[in-house]
Amino acid sequence: MKTKKKNSFDIFMDRQTDENFEKLRSFFIDFNSCCLLNKTDKNKMRKDFENAILYYDNKHFTIEKILELLSLKNLGGFYARPAQSWFPLDDAAKIYPVSMEHGVMSVFRLSVNLKEEVVPELLQMALTFTIKRFPSFATTLKKGIFWHYLDSTKRCFNVIEENDIPCQALKVSQSGSQSFRAMYYKNRITVEFFHVLTDASGGMEFIKALVCEYIRLLGIEIEDSTNILNINDNPDIKEFTNEFLNVEKTPNASGLYNKLATQMSGNLAKVMPCRVLHYRMDANHLREVARKYGITVSTYILCLMFISAKFSCEIYDGEFSIQVPVNMRKYYESKTLRNFSMYCGIRLPISQIQKIEDFKEEVVNQLTIKSSKEEMHKMLYATKKLIRNIRLIPLVIKQPIAKFLSGILGDHAFTSTLSNIGIVDLPNQFKEYIQDMDFVLNTSTTNRASCGLITYNNNATLSITKNTKDPSFETKLYELLTNDGLLVEVEGSELYGS
């Protein structure tokens, strides 16, 4: 008679005492009632639990401790109920699905670099436990008659080992497909988000909760988790709000249309992004350098980007425009995890760009005026008005027009982008486990480089997403930073497609 070959978990079970065996058996009986997914997903999730238990066993955790860490209360009934909720896209997100093409999708990336290698088994469990707190992330993109929407999906969301180029398009076409990608590589935990789900602030809330849960699963007692969403709390309806709907009327709705900007000159790479680079600096030192010029860190980096862009351009009479996303949460009280950011374009004639001292005032002025609450309000209202005006046009007509316009209003209107998330606020205890963080912006079809800045634990990381093999931009930027006395450690990817 054929006997079933025992797997490592069966062997583990065989060597348990009767008492422990019974505890584990009843744990999995309870699991069956907490997880009513389809057979494939249920088996996958059970396997994830088994792998985590085996990991703990290797680390000599007691069964009581293991079952406490992996407690089924963390599943919270999410996997036991059918998917019923759905979320209309927020006004800012509506453009992303209509403008996407095969292999081109607005995907941004947040990473947390730990001080030790990631344990995949625990990261998978952390994701399984965390996703229920973010129901608008546990969704699949669907197509309606007038707009796309996010349809709730219940499945075992997967963590994968990173093995591809960053920020590649996600496959969202099939039923149940996820619109984010959770990954690990050595000591790095990464989540890549399709912009329909959220913006950088919302993504940050997700990755903070994920990493906090991961650290808890490592067996570390979290003393203080202020500023991190508790994964076992009920999601708040305010977290799914399309805040654009609450924007009050203003007589001067404007700001959506921009003149075309000059692009840097390097040939666009066949593979995009063709490289990702991270410039790591001491945040205090960076602030001091910026202060020496009498400007903020964002303005300082913007100035350096203008100079570097000029260095990377063979056209001398155009205008550069750098897009600066503005988080609307700083102007409007909001708990939303959806998109709630606008942008402004800082525009300078190339001829005016010489030394920082020569044009910093102009950058400061533009930044102050264009990112002011009044201007942002006008833009928010313009977006709301536009969306409202075209809401009754079927998607099949809107889509080709939107695709065409997004190129003009988006990519071609800017030379580059600088998005500064600012200082990430995590409990002090986390400094023991987290080294630093990265924020990589999505690639565009025309811009040769874009930059994302994030600061954690006094480590400021400027990430450059490159779309051209021409190294002029990043080399000049590095030179300018080091000339100002900053010690820059450079990390990044290989040059893809070479």
Partner: protein
Amino acid sequence: MEVKVTYPHVERRKKGRRKMLQILKWPFIVGALASIIVNICVGGKAWSAIVVAGEIALWKLVFALDLVEYNRISQFIKATIYSCIILALIHFLIVPFWALGIISILVYAALVVSGILFLTDIKRQKQNMLPMFFFIVAALVTSAIGFILSDTKDYWAVIVLSSISVVLLIVCISVLRLDFLRELKKGFHIK
């Protein structure tokens, strides 16, 4: 500037679908334009319309696949609709034949098959109900138009088409109940 590589090595990527589409679209465009020009020069019946429709169908069904809502029901319905359009064009532009009869049979079969595809995997496919719903509605509208325009001898086609559509609609509603309304609400939302 020394770069410490902290990303996995990625093997040279095959040219993606986007690149392939960028290259392939030109033979399609040239083919379509050439057929229209030749058709105009040679004169006669508008056969180039069938060439263009065939190219569009091939492009949409084989190459430029849907980026959202790519599922077995939507693809099957899409293929049926393209086939019907091409048959109708042949009938009206080239040679009137029994295309309308074939189209009717094709639509009956498609309704039945999409119903089977839907009912055999209801948990997952209920999210994909909308394309089938539109197909049913289109079939009902066609039946109504057919009833007004066709001869009495063609009434059988209209009756069969409308009956199958109504039955499938009732089955959908009774199986999905509240979910049916929920799916419609999602599909038609303007928020």
